[in-house]
Symmetry: C2
Subunit: 189 residues, 2 copies
DNA sequence: AATAAAAATTGCTATAGGGCAACTTTATCT
DNA sequence: AGATAAAGTTGCCCTATAGCAATTTTTATT
C-alpha cells in the first residue's frame, strides 16, 4: 500500500499501526493516462479510487451534449461515482483522468466489506461522505445564489491551484458557464 | 420514542429490538409552529431533527436578500444543518418549519456519541449521508445542466406531492428561479 | 363572514449569459 | 522542430430568465 494512503488512514481514522498491513492487500496501484476514462455513463461503477498523483474529474453529459463537471479530485482524495457504487445502478456520470495519474483502486465489494468490519475504514468512509456533504451543500447554494462572476471569484479564492492544473474548458463546466463566458469573465476581473 | 422512529431504525439499521429502549432517552418530542425558525444563519447548530409530521426546509439568504432552498424534509426524514453540526461552525443556512410539525430532537453531542458507540445509529447516519450524497449530486447536475422548465418537470415527476404541501414561492427558491418565472413555466406546461 | 395581508399571475422591459464565427494562442504528435 | 489539432479569445447578436408594476387569488386574523 502506498505510503500516502497509510498517512491518510493515520490522519483521518487514527488507525492502529498493526491494522495497516491488513488493509494493504485490498488496494491495487494503477497507472492512468491523461484523459483516460475510468467509468462511462451507463456502466455500473465497480471501484473506488484513491488519487496518489494527478487528478480525476467526475462529469456528466446532458441532452445537448454539454459536459458538466461536478467534482475534481486531486491527490490524497478518494474519487468515484458513489451514487452508482452505493445503489449498484448504472452511473449517470463519467470518471476521467485529467493528467497522467497514479491511483489506488479497491473493489466495491472489498470497500463496503471493510466499511462494515474495519472501524478505520468506517471512519474514513464517514469522513468522505461528510466532506462531500459539506462541499456539495456549499456548491448548491453557489449555483443557486451567486452569479457567474462571484462563482469564479470564489473558486479563485478557495482553490487557486485549480487554475494551473485544469483547463479553462473544464473549469467552465465546473462553474456552470460556457467557455466563452468564462473567457469574458476573466478579461473583466 | 415515537413509533415512527422505531420503525425507521428497524428498517434502515435492522436494529435489535432490545436496543431500542436504550436509544429512547436521547430523543425529545417537540411541537413546532408553522413558519417557526429552528436555526438561523450565524448560529451554531446544536440539534438533529427527525420529522414525525409536517415538514422542515433548509435555506439560505444571499447578498441580495433572496432565499435559496436546498432541501425540504417531509415526515420520516432527519433534517439539520449537518455542515454546522459536523464542523461546529456557525450555520450559513436556516432551518424553518413550513407547517405545524412534530419533530424529535437529539442533541449534537448525543447524536455523535451514538454514531460512535451504537452500530445502529452509525448505520442510520451512514444512510443519511449516502442519501444526501445521491440527491445532492443529482441536484447539482440538474442545476448545471437542465433549464428551468426541465427542472420543474423533473420535480413534478419525482415529488408531485411537494406541489400540494409547499408554496410556489418555496418551490421557486428550490428550483433556482424567481416566483415570476415559476408561474410562467406552470402556465406553459 | 369581513378585513387585511400575503402569494400568485401576467404584461412589459432589462440583462446575464449563450452561441456562432473568425482569429489567436497553446498543446500534441511524429 | 514543424505540422496539426485543440483550446482560448472576442465581436456580434439572440434567448431565457430577472425584475417591476398592476391585478387577481389565496390565506390568515379578528
Amino acid at each position: 500500500m502506498h505510503e500516502m494512503l497509510k498517512t491518510y488512514f493515520r490522519e483521518i481514522a487514527c488507525i492502529k499501526e498493526e491494522k495497516i498491513p491488513l488493509l494493504s492487500p485490498y488496494f491495487t496501484e494503477k497507472a492512468v493516462q491523461k484523459n483516460e476514462v475510468l467509468l462511462r455513463e451507463g456502466e455500473v461503477c465497480k471501484f473506488n479510487y484513491f488519487v496518489v498523483s494527478g487528478c480525476l474529474r467526475l462529469y456528466s453529459v446532458n441532452k445537448q451534449g454539454i459536459e458538466n463537471t461536478r467534482y475534481i479530485a486531486f491527490e490524497r482524495k478518494f474519487a468515484t461515482s458513489f451514487t452508482s457504487l452505493i445503489t449498484g445502478k448504472p452511473s449517470i456520470e463519467y470518471i476521467q483522468s485529467l493528467e497522467k495519474s497514479t491511483v489506488l483502486t479497491i473493489s466495491k465489494e472489498d470497500f463496503f466489506y471493510l466499511v462494515e468490519h474495519e472501524p478505520a475504514v468506517n471512519k474514513v468512509y464517514r469522513h468522505i461522505l461528510e466532506s462531500a456533504y459539506i462541499t456539495t451543500q456549499r456548491r448548491i447554494y453557489d449555483l443557486q445564489g451567486a452569479d457567474s462572476l462571484n462563482r469564479l471569484k470564489w473558486l479563485l479564492d478557495q482553490q487557486p491551484d485549480v487554475f494551473n492544473k485544469v483547463s479553462s474548458k473544464v473549469i467552465a463546466s465546473y462553474l456552470g458557464v460556457t467557455p466563452y463566458t468564462l473567457s469574458r469573465l476573466k478579461a473583466n476581473l
